[in-house]
């Protein structure tokens, strides 16, 4: 898949995933990997950027499997940003799909 496509929707996928439930880094990488195949190294920078922009909050939770893990929690600003991204994605995908439909041999003019 085109890396630029994946890069464009990665934020939306991450925001949606964390909105559903709080996750830590590795768990979120696994969740995103189910949707798109992205480089694991790019998730953490994205998480750091969204945290710096106050879309995410972090907290430590004790773990029985090792040291405490840092969990990410979406903020109200993050939810608004996620909704905005969803609208833009829907609008863009609809237009692109409509454009492609027009130019199809069976449906085009």
């Amino acid at each position: 898949m085109n890396a630029q496509f994946k890069k464009g929707v990665l934020e939306l996928i991450v925001l949606e995933s964390v909105r559903q439930r709080d996750m830590y880094g590795y768990e979120l990488v696994e969740e995103v990997s189910k949707v798109v195949d992205v480089n694991e190294g790019t998730i953490y920078p994205l998480l750091k950027r969204l945290t710096n922009e106050h879309y995410f909050e972090t907290y430590l939770r004790e773990s029985t499997e090792g040291p405490p893990r840092k969990y990410y929690h979406v903020t109200a600003a993050g939810i608004l940003y996620r909704d905005q991204l969803e609208r833009e994605w829907t609008e863009l995908s609809g237009r692109v799909w409509k454009f492609l439909k027009q130019n199809l041999p069976d449906g085009g003019s």
């Binding site: 880094g25 590795y26 480089n39 694991e40 790019t42 953490y44 920078p45 994205l46 950027r49 840092k70």
Partner: protein, 520 residues
């Protein structure tokens, strides 16, 4: 690459970030690798899943809005500076800190330098101006331009000193004779008609001024340079005794008139007795020293006046401060008491209401009423203690200022009115005459006579002022010490017809007047 190497490299690449952020990132990646290792992967495989190391660090730095190449350059520079070939976090930070310290130190030094320059700039300007003034005075003192006019055997020399007058008929200069005596010869070029020379004063003494004259050549050739001593009243035919001129036959003493001495009075006018006949010029010709002395006296006088004014200002400031403190304390007291009075008034109101409702509070109410009245009275009393500066108040009792005189006249006008009416001279006329006297009575060595004069007027009034002349002449008025003040009246111009005092009976009145002007 194992986990330790990966994390170390990651830490170095992200050294531009803050310590806590860096620790947070490293811990996350470390935890991720540990989880993957627990899942069964090796460290290398887990690290390989991160992708390109460069892209990884670039994306992390991009999340902090930091340029990836900046971090790389900074690390390289730090590594080169420290000479270890590697960029370590703390070394890079130390290098950055040192850069900042250096920059800050340079700016601080420049700021300090500028501040010091601005502080000492006025002093430097003043010092420069003083040096220019002194240099200018020295140049004026040294430069002379002489034009020699060979008329007669004596070779009367008319000199111009600085920008002085060419037509000074001062002391005759024996330069040609002296040059002859010293071996300059009669054929000396100095003193020939039409030649000009520049002379500079080398030394000055009782016998005259030692000058060096350099002839100004007309055709561009080198001029003759002669040193000689100038002295007054000496002519070649009088004979010159080298080395001692004060007792020589040609020297001029005060009061003596020698042959051919045409304008003794002109020459000696304005010259101190101990200096007459001794210098080579008359007073106006060689007056630079006198001018310098006069200027020095004037400067000292001005400085004294300035210091006196400063002292006066300081005293005024002290009195003003004391007055302000006094007023402030009383204002504060009044405000506090007035506030208490207002509070008491409020209480009085409450008590009055309760009293009207039937409560037995009449005593308390009356007491509160008294308290209110006392409080407001105290506040008003505090206000009355404020000190204000009176308009036109007499500051100095002995001053001759017009304002003080006006105030004094206004204050004494009532009991003086009958006397003025008898003489026909109104207070305005008298005030004008007094003011004229104030304007013209400037000599510093004369004692202030105005207060005494007023006392004399009162005494004269009691003895009858009808004897006064309408024009203001008061010579017929008998009063104790009245004649003592007559000399000052000569300057007042009020119509005094008395004779002017003469300091030296043998002198002309004009000489003393001009001398007085010169001394002033």
């Amino acid at each position: 690459m194992d986990k330790r190497e990966f994390l170390s490299a990651l830490e170095q690449s992200l050294s531009v970030l803050q310590e806590d952020e860096l620790r947070d990132i490293i811990s996350e990646y470390e935890q991720h690798i540990d989880i993957k290792v627990e899942k069964g992967l090796t460290e290398a495989e887990a690290i390989a899943d991160f992708g390109s190391f460069g892209e990884l660090t670039a994306e992390i730095l991009e999340a902090y809005h930091v340029r990836a190449d900046y971090a790389a350059d900074k690390g390289e520079r730090a590594g080169r500076r420290w000479g270890d070939g590697q960029t370590t976090g703390w070394k890079a930070r130390g290098a950055m800190l040192w850069e900042k310290v250096k920059t800050g130190g340079t700016r601080t030094a420049s700021c300090v330098r500028w501040t010091v320059y601005q502080l000492f700039r006025p002093f430097a300007w003043a010092w420069k101006r003083c040096r220019e003034l002194v240099r200018g005075l020295e140049e004026r003192r040294g430069k002379e331009l002489w034009e020699f006019d060979d008329s007669g055997t004596a070779g009367e020399a008319r000199g111009r000193y600085g920008d002085g007058d060419l037509n000074n008929k001062g002391g005759r200069d024996a330069a040609p004779a002296a040059a002859k005596e010293r071996g300059g010869g009669a054929d000396s070029d100095v003193g020939n008609p039409g030649r000009s020379a520049v002379s500079s004063r080398i030394d000055s003494g009782k016998s005259g001024d030692m000058v060096r004259e350099a002839e100004i050549p007309e055709n561009g050739s080198a001029g003759l340079e002669v040193e000689h001593r100038r002295y007054s009243g000496v002519r070649p035919e009088d004979g010159v005794r080298p080395g001692g001129l004060e007792s020589g036959p040609g020297s001029r003493e005060y009061g003596e008139a020698g042959p051919g001495d045409r304008n003794r009075r002109d020459r000696n006018r304005g010259v101190r007795p101990d200096r007459r006949g001794r210098t080579g010029r008359d007073f106006r010709d060689s007056g630079l020293r006198q001018r310098i002395k006069r200027k020095g006296k004037r400067i000292i006088n001005d400085m004294g006046k300035g210091i006196w004014r400063i002292c006066g200002l300081c005293v005024s400031a002290v009195f003003w401060t004391a007055r302000m403190v006094w007023n402030g304390c009383w204002i504060l007291f009044s405000l506090v008491v007035a506030g208490f009075g207002l509070f008491s008034l409020y209480g009085l109101g409450v008590l009055s209401v309760l009293l009207t409702q039937g409560y037995p509070l009449i005593g308390v109410t009356l007491g509160c009423l008294g308290l209110v009245m006392c409080a407001f009275s105290a506040a008003v009393l505090g206000i009355t203690f404020l000190r204000r500066k009176e308009n036109g108040a007499i500051k100095n009792k002995g001053s001759h200022s017009r304002q003080n005189r006006t105030e004094q006249k206004a204050g004494k006008q009532e009991h003086k009115a009958p006397r003025h009416e008898e003489t026909g001279r109104g207070p305005e006329k008298k005030r004008e005459s007094d003011q004229e006297g104030d304007r013209r009575a400037k000599p510093g060595d004369q004692a202030p006579w105005r207060p005494d004069r007023e006392d004399q007027e009162e005494k004269a009034g009691s003895e009858g002022l009808q004897e006064r002349e309408p024009g203001g002449g008061q010579k017929d008025v008998q009063g104790a010490g009245w004649e003592d003040h007559e000399p000052s009246r000569e300057h007042s111009g009020t119509g005094w017809s008395g004779e002017m005092p003469v300091e030296n009976p043998g002198e002309d009145p004009g000489a003393s007047e001009e001398r007085g002007q010169s001394y002033a």
